[in-house]
């Protein structure tokens, strides 16, 4: 048993244990409780629902790792979606050519990046707490979006946009492919790039990073800019899935993204965390909700169980680390 744990930790990292145990438990429990759980339909529904929450979680992840947070992710995604929607409408709405859609995507990414950069500059140069800055940004973006849309939907997009939200490529859902691509990008960013190294360092001690010559301001600005870009990707997927943009879409995901990150072993104070355990944690959350759905349980109960899962995982982690300290003392 012990050697298995050591091998597992050496291969996947110690932070992978919790999410994997949760994954196995969820599969076992629902596999036994609902006969139709282990079916293609379940995984199809998970695969299509996962990307929205997943992309927003990636957007939340980088700020969390720096010891900050980005509360404006959902509205940044909405505004980026709006930017894309307007570009499409300006080019003929449902009849817009593919080139217009590419332009629309660029507009969305630019909007997300701009919102993120603005947030990052405010945090880096005022040294105000990210909660304050991003909360202000969230309220600003919501207000701006509602003002611009008068609280309604913007819809009517070309038919070729829909597959981005619903279609499949080689039997795999396109939104899932996009999400997996983004997970891979974030993984490389965090494990191999200077920016990833720097953001983890400032997450555990910004001043020490500064004394070692890391450009902490630049890192903070880039982190929030990339967070904004990832929001824009989520915004484009949401536009395609709902075939409309509405300010407030996905609003309930905001704190779930934080939950998913912590479930994936991200240190709440910053400095430590990896993408892959967070990815597994996201899958677990989505399986939990789909499983309950299959068993005919109320959707709101799923949300409640997410909270319970988090508490169980936290307790288990504390017990596990106490056990480890106990064993070390004995040895």
């Amino acid at each position: 048993m012990k050697t298995f744990v050591q091998k597992f930790n050496a291969t996947f990292g110690a932070d992978m244990g919790g999410p994997v145990i949760a994954f196995v438990s969820v599969m076992l429990i629902f596999g036994l409780a609902a006969d139709n759980f282990l079916s293609l339909a379940t995984f199809g529904s998970v695969a299509f629902q996962l990307p929205e929450l997943g992309l927003l979680t990636l957007a939340m992840l980088l700020p969390l790792l720096t010891g900050g947070i980005n509360l404006s992710i959902t509205f940044t995604a909405n505004l980026a979606g709006l930017a894309a929607a307007w570009v499409l409408q300006a080019h003929g709405g449902a009849d817009a050519p593919v080139s217009a859609f590419l332009l629309a995507c660029l507009a969305a990414l630019a909007t997300g990046a701009a919102a993120g950069a603005l947030t990052g500059v405010a945090i880096a140069y005022t040294r105000a707490h990210p909660i304050l800055v991003t909360l202000s940004m969230m309220i600003f973006l919501r207000g701006l979006g509602e003002f611009l849309t008068r609280g309604g939907d913007v819809s009517g997009f070309p038919a070729y946009v829909a597959p981005l939200g619903h279609g499949s490529l080689f039997g795999l859902p396109i939104p899932l492919l996009i999400f997996v691509f983004c997970v891979a990008a974030w993984h490389v960013l965090l494990t191999r790039s200077k920016l990833g190294f720097g953001l983890l360092m400032i997450g555990s001690n910004m001043e020490a990073a500064d004394y070692s010559g890391l450009n902490t301001r630049k890192i903070v600005v880039l982190v929030y800019t990339l967070s904004g870009v990832m929001c824009a990707v989520a915004g484009i997927i949401m536009l395609a899935r709902f075939n409309s943009v509405r300010v407030g879409h996905g609003e309930s995901y905001l704190l779930i993204t934080v939950l998913a990150a912590f479930l994936g072993g991200v240190n709440p104070f910053g400095g430590f965390g990896r993408v892959l355990p967070v990815f597994v944690a996201l899958v677990v959350l989505q399986l939990l909700s789909s499983g309950l759905n299959l068993m005919g349980a109320n959707q709101h109960l799923a949300t409640a169980l997410w909270g319970v899962l988090m508490i169980v995982v936290m307790t288990a982690r504390t017990l596990a680390s106490n056990y480890r300290i106990f064993m070390r003392k004995k040895a």
Binding site: V188, T191, R192, S193, K194, F197, G198, L200, M201, S204, N205, E207, A208, A209, D210, Y211, S212, G213, L214, N215, G271, F272
Partner: protein
């Protein structure tokens, strides 16, 4: 002053931390109403001894502990407090936002009626304690508005509230000016007159000799001896404290033929230092010493580009430079080892490997990305080069001892390939035994041609490890000493004058 039995008497005190003997069977005695000095270098076991006396640490079996002639079976912090044993630590442990009265009387605060705080009782106690010291102070003033010397008085007054009989003062004069120190000595005399025994923990010898009746000297966790102050000289105490045999040679040498690497001309930052000028040659070690607040660290941070000078010039190899940030300085080959290893020098929660490469990421890139094999090579190279004792490079650096952490911190800067290495108090929090190892590294680096600025508030460190020693006072270069032509005592008396 002689009484039938001492106020405090300890015999055969042994304390071990994880295999390291911090105290090796120490005896210690204080008489009632005595001013006693507990002397020794950093890391000699002074603080550990105080913590045994106040019940923070429990000595090993075989210890004998008498207070007021009565044996104490198991000392606890609460018991120490009720016996009237008080400690004023160097950091004072005061509350900046609270008033003078609240700081002095905060132990009483929990004792109010109905669980409420009795403000008037606190005020009265604070006034009484200050009156006993013969001090007048506005007791409603927030503590943060007081000067350091006044805060020290607040800390002493707080000790008196608990009906103190034995007060330990840990390096009480470290951050005081001469006149403030005189003032403190006056207060200690008042305390002594009112029957309180005071143990002064200090390595500033002049004042120790002025104020104490007896001196207990510790070295490396062992008792060297107890001596009456009459007939003691500063150099004799230094010798006892360090155990340094006098053939311990200075390493100072001439470097006049070597090229000038760094040239500083009339460098000034208002309120920190002014008109600082010096040349640093290849392979030379320049020592800078002086009291806390002399502007040493501020000067270092300016050379490192983290602060910008208001006037004056910095020339590297003859070329004028202007650093916008420490990144410019690092690119130019200037490295700075911070005096504060815990919060600035190293990123304590992160791994040994990440700390080591933090300043030299550009050197381990491959195709724009961090190459894990290059990183591992760099880490392995420096770990072995500097003899750092580690488990694995992925362990958090906070799991290492002070000496090993400092080696990694030095390695972090060597990894950038520096021309100039500024070491700011490199032995703070490093065991006495490990200090020699750090200085061996420093000497080796200088011999290899690195130019070093060695900053320390311990004159012996710069005296024995630098080619020249600059004495800094209130932001100015007071004098330059050549260790070959100056005795350590001369340097020390200049610094502590």
């Amino acid at each position: 002053m002689t009484v039938s039995h001492p106020l405090l008497s300890l015999k055969n005190i042994k304390v071990t931390f994880g295999g390291v003997r911090a105290l090796k069977g120490v005896s210690f005695e204080v008489n009632p109403g005595e001013v006693h000095c507990l002397a020794g270098e950093n890391g000699c076991g002074k603080s550990t001894l105080i913590k045994v006396i106040t019940g923070v640490y429990t000595p090993e079996d075989g210890a004998e502990f008498l207070f007021d002639g009565k044996p104490i079976a198991a000392m606890t912090p609460t018991l120490a407090q009720s016996l009237g044993i008080q400690v004023i630590w160097q950091d004072l442990a005061l509350f900046g936002e609270m008033s003078v009265a609240e700081n002095i009387g905060f132990q009483l605060a929990v004792k109010g009626k109905y669980g409420l705080i009795d403000k008037s009782a606190i005020d009265a106690a604070a006034k009484k304690a200050l009156a006993r010291l013969g001090i007048e102070l506005d007791i409603h003033m927030p503590l943060k508005e007081l000067a350091i010397a006044q805060r020290q008085i607040v800390a002493i007054a707080r000790a008196l509230v608990g009906e103190a009989r034995l007060v330990f003062m840990d390096e009480p004069t470290a951050s005081l000016t001469q006149s403030e120190t005189d003032y403190l000595i006056e207060i200690v005399r008042n305390l002594q007159a009112s029957g309180v025994a005071v143990v002064f923990v200090s390595h500033r010898l002049a004042e120790v000799l002025e104020i104490s009746d007896r001196i207990t000297v510790l070295r490396d966790g062992a008792l060297v001896g107890v001596y009456p102050v009459e007939g003691m000289t500063q150099s004799r105490v230094t010798e006892l404290m360090t155990g340094r045999n006098f053939d311990s040679a200075v390493i100072a040498a001439d470097h006049d033929d070597a090229p000038v690497v760094l040239s500083v001309k009339n460098l000034t930052r208002h309120g920190e230092f002014s008109n600082v000028s010096f040349d640093l040659r290849r392979g030379e070690t320049l020592g800078i010493t002086g009291l806390l607040g002399a502007g040493r660290t501020e000067l270092a941070l300016t050379l490192f580009g983290m602060r910008q000078p208001h006037s004056g010039e910095i020339l590297l190899a003859g070329e004028k430079v202007r650093f916008g940030s420490n990144r410019d300085a690092i690119r130019a080959g200037v490295a700075y080892l911070s005096e504060d290893r815990l919060s600035l020098g190293l990123n304590q929660p992160q791994s040994i490997a990440d700390n080591l490469v933090m300043a030299s990421l550009d050197r381990i890139l491959s195709g724009g990305l961090i190459s894990s094999s290059r990183k591992a090579n760099v880490v392995a190279h420096w770990i072995s080069e500097l003899g750092v004792k580690i488990g694995t490079p992925d362990d958090p650096i906070r799991t290492l001892s002070g000496g090993n952490q400092q080696r990694v911190a030095i390695a972090k800067w060597l990894a950038i390939g520096p021309r100039i290495l500024i070491l700011d108090a490199p032995t703070v929090g490093v065991d006495v035994g490990a200090r020699a190892g750090i200085f061996d590294i420093v000497r080796k680096l200088a011999a290899e041609g690195l130019s070093i600025i060695l900053i320390s508030d311990e004159p012996p460190e710069v005296y024995f490890n630098a080619d020249r020693v600059i004495h800094m006072v209130e932001g100015r270069f007071q004098a330059v000493y050549d260790p070959r032509q100056t005795s350590l005592t001369e340097l020390e008396s200049a610094v502590y004058a």
